[in-house]
């Protein structure tokens, strides 16, 4: 039953935010939510390889950077067609993911983590030293992506709708993937890769495909992020960001469809709240993170499951 309740609640929730923003007349609030949604997409993309595929990547933020710089650089040269930009984002992300994956997958476990971290640093330094495209200063997106002539991407409501639609599409695609034979093999790689290989599956190929799909999804998040902030900066791709994405996944619940979305909302809201109260947010967020990781099993989704089980137990 949960399979239907939570997605329905998510769609209802996404539909409620613009109404609330309209009633209280605070469109700025919708921009904040759009940012949460964008990071939810990024966290969900990481969840595909980490939660379902069992591959812990510490370089996922690279794709946020790729998507953002595709928008920034293309706009810089006057190419503002959104469809073209999305296509380029997907292509570049896929190529980068295939490069990272084909090297990182030659090793396992801890090597995989470190290699994804180090290769993501290549992109970080590339963007840092790209003098022509802003370097350390970052690159201003001079014009947002244009999709249709009737669409105004500078309207917070319409941009929110794009973000919400992107999230729902990404989650739907991911749901279809994990329910497909491909997804079953991917999950079997997480559970016991030796057996999967012994049955005859080319696990390298399945894992590489998952990395490519995940990279493309996260590239879209980067694409949206640059449009939201009108800015592309190397810090999008910094490894802190990759670490934060991992936190969101774990906090929400690894290997669950909706979990990373809840994790992203919870983590960013907490971060926002703490940062508005103290300059030293690390002193608060750091220990909280340690406590959450040490004490929780299954994150927010684990809590929801436990609550649901208790309610059901009382009923029967």
């Amino acid at each position: 039953m949960r399979a239907f309740v939570l997605p329905t609640l998510l769609v209802l929730g996404l539909a409620t935010f613009p109404l609330v923003a309209g009633i209280v007349d605070e469109p700025y609030f919708l921009g904040t939510i759009s940012r949460l949604i964008i990071f939810a997409i990024a966290a969900a993309s990481l969840n595909l390889i980490t939660g379902y595929g069992g591959m812990v990547s510490l370089g996922q933020a690279m794709f946020l950077g790729i998507g953002a710089y595709v928008v920034g650089i293309m706009a810089h040269h006057g190419w503002t067609n959104g469809f073209l930009q999305v296509a380029v984002t997907l292509a570049v992300s896929a190529l980068a993911a295939a490069f990272v994956g084909s090297i990182a997958l030659r090793a396992h476990g801890i090597f995989f983590i470190m290699i994804t971290l180090a290769l993501a640093q290549i992109f970080y330094y590339l963007s840092l030293s790209s003098g022509r495209y802003g370097g350390e200063e970052g690159l201003v997106v001079i014009e947002r992506s244009q999709f249709f002539s009737w669409m105004d991407v500078y309207s917070v409501y319409q941009f929110y709708a794009i973000c919400a639609a992107a999230l729902l599409i990404c989650l739907y695609v991911q749901w279809r993937i994990i329910k497909s034979p491909f997804g079953h093999v991917l999950i079997s790689c997480r559970e016991n890769e030796k057996r999967a290989r012994a049955i005859g599956y080319n696990t390298f190929f399945y894992k590489l495909m998952a990395i490519v799909i995940s990279g493309m999804m996260c590239g879209i998040a980067g694409f949206l992020l640059a449009n939201l902030s009108n800015f592309a900066t190397p810090s999008y791709a910094y490894w802190y960001r990759s670490g934060e994405l991992l936190i969101m996944v774990l906090l929400g619940g690894m290997g669950t469809l909706i979990g990373p979305v809840l994790g992203a909302f919870a983590f960013l809201s907490l971060e926002h709240w703490v940062a508005s109260h103290t300059r030293y947010w690390g002193l608060v967020v750091g220990p909280l993170l340690i406590i959450v990781v040490l004490s929780s099993r299954g994150g927010i989704m684990g809590l929801i499951d436990a609550l649901a089980a208790r309610v059901r137990g009382q009923r029967s």
Binding site: I103, F111, M114, Y125, M254, W281, G286, P287, L288
Partner: protein
């Protein structure tokens, strides 16, 4: 050989030594406890800050160095007892996230205590000034001092791990920790010793690096990622591999930054080279790592375990 090349080679060597001190602890901790410690860079950072604080307190570099090593050891033990110990049996993701939380905490803690401004760490009088390399070319004596001290520590570490009883137990623990525990050895004590040793090495590196880098929050992360590259290239858990990897990374990073642009000037327009040179130089280390791992996924000197 032109003097500038000698100078840059020494710079690369010196960066390699610092990287080795950090990577050695990281790789030992991983080898014995299977624990991946992102906060190892924070131990390096605290080493540098401790050194500055003790210098202000005592007025001498050498006493401050001793006190820093002691404080680093204690910090490592506290970290091990309070946190790391609970993580040895957890998966790598949980280890990463907890130690990531430690980084967030540590970086803001030093800002809270010492402020944003980079701290100044002094150079001991003995190593002030320059050493004549050949002719009229001078090289900072302090950097020579780093190289000598680092090599001495590397040698001592080798003797400790290869020729003492505790070192033998550490190696045994890396090969098969259950068996070591079954033989009646207090494996938890070994863990604590290894962690303390790693913290001392990182603190020592922080003290040495203090005068030549800016001592500020976040300084640990820059070097941490390079140290990861070092141990991945060298082979996880291998101290010898860490030394080899540190020399490779230190050399490539320094020489790339120093000469790549000039080399590229020869083959492409100067304007293009001045654009691409620095970019490629900072990526070079990671690219070389990718190439090495493509041919040897387990690193250059992998450790054989069970």
């Amino acid at each position: 050989m032109p003097a500038v090349l000698v100078e840059q080679l020494l710079n690369g060597f010196q960066l390699g030594i610092l990287l080795f001190l950090i990577a050695a602890g990281l790789t030992l901790i991983f080898g014995v406890m299977q624990f991946i410690n992102l906060a190892h860079g924070s131990l390096f950072m605290f080493g540098a800050y401790f050194s500055v604080a003790f210098q202000q307190l005592t007025g001498t570099f050498w006493l401050a160095l001793l006190l820093t090593l002691g404080a680093s050891f204690l910090l490592g033990l506290v970290f091990e007892l309070a946190l790391a110990r609970r993580l040895y049996d957890r998966n790598h993701l949980e280890q990463i996230l907890v130690t990531f939380g430690v980084i967030l905490f540590a970086n803001d803690l030093v800002v809270l205590i010492w402020g944003f401004e980079p701290q100044f760490s002094g150079i001991p009088d003995l190593l002030n000034g320059h050493v004549a390399l050949f002719g009229d070319v001078g090289y900072p004596a302090y950097r020579i001092g780093i190289i000598v001290a680092g090599l001495a520590v590397a040698g001592a570490l080798y003797l400790f791990v290869a020729h003492t009883r505790i070192g033998m137990l550490i190696r045994a623990g890396a090969t098969n920790r259950e068996m070591v525990a079954l033989m009646g050895v207090n494996i938890k004590l070994i863990y604590a010793v290894v962690f303390g040793l790693g913290a001392v090495l990182a603190g020592f590196a922080g003290t040495l690096a203090g005068p030549i880098v800016s001592v500020q929050a976040g300084m640990g992360e820059r070097i941490l990622i390079l140290a990861f590259v070092v141990i991945v290239i060298g082979g996880l858990g291998s101290v010898k591999g860490a030394f080899l990897g540190a020399m490779i990374v230190g050399g490539i990073d320094t020489l790339g930054r120093a000469f790549l642009r000039d080399v590229m000037d020869l083959v492409m327009p100067v304007a293009a080279a001045s654009q691409a040179g620095p970019a490629i130089a900072s990526m070079l280390t990671y690219l070389i790592m990718a190439v090495i791992l493509f041919f040897r996924p387990q690193g250059l000197l992998p450790v054989k375990t069970r």
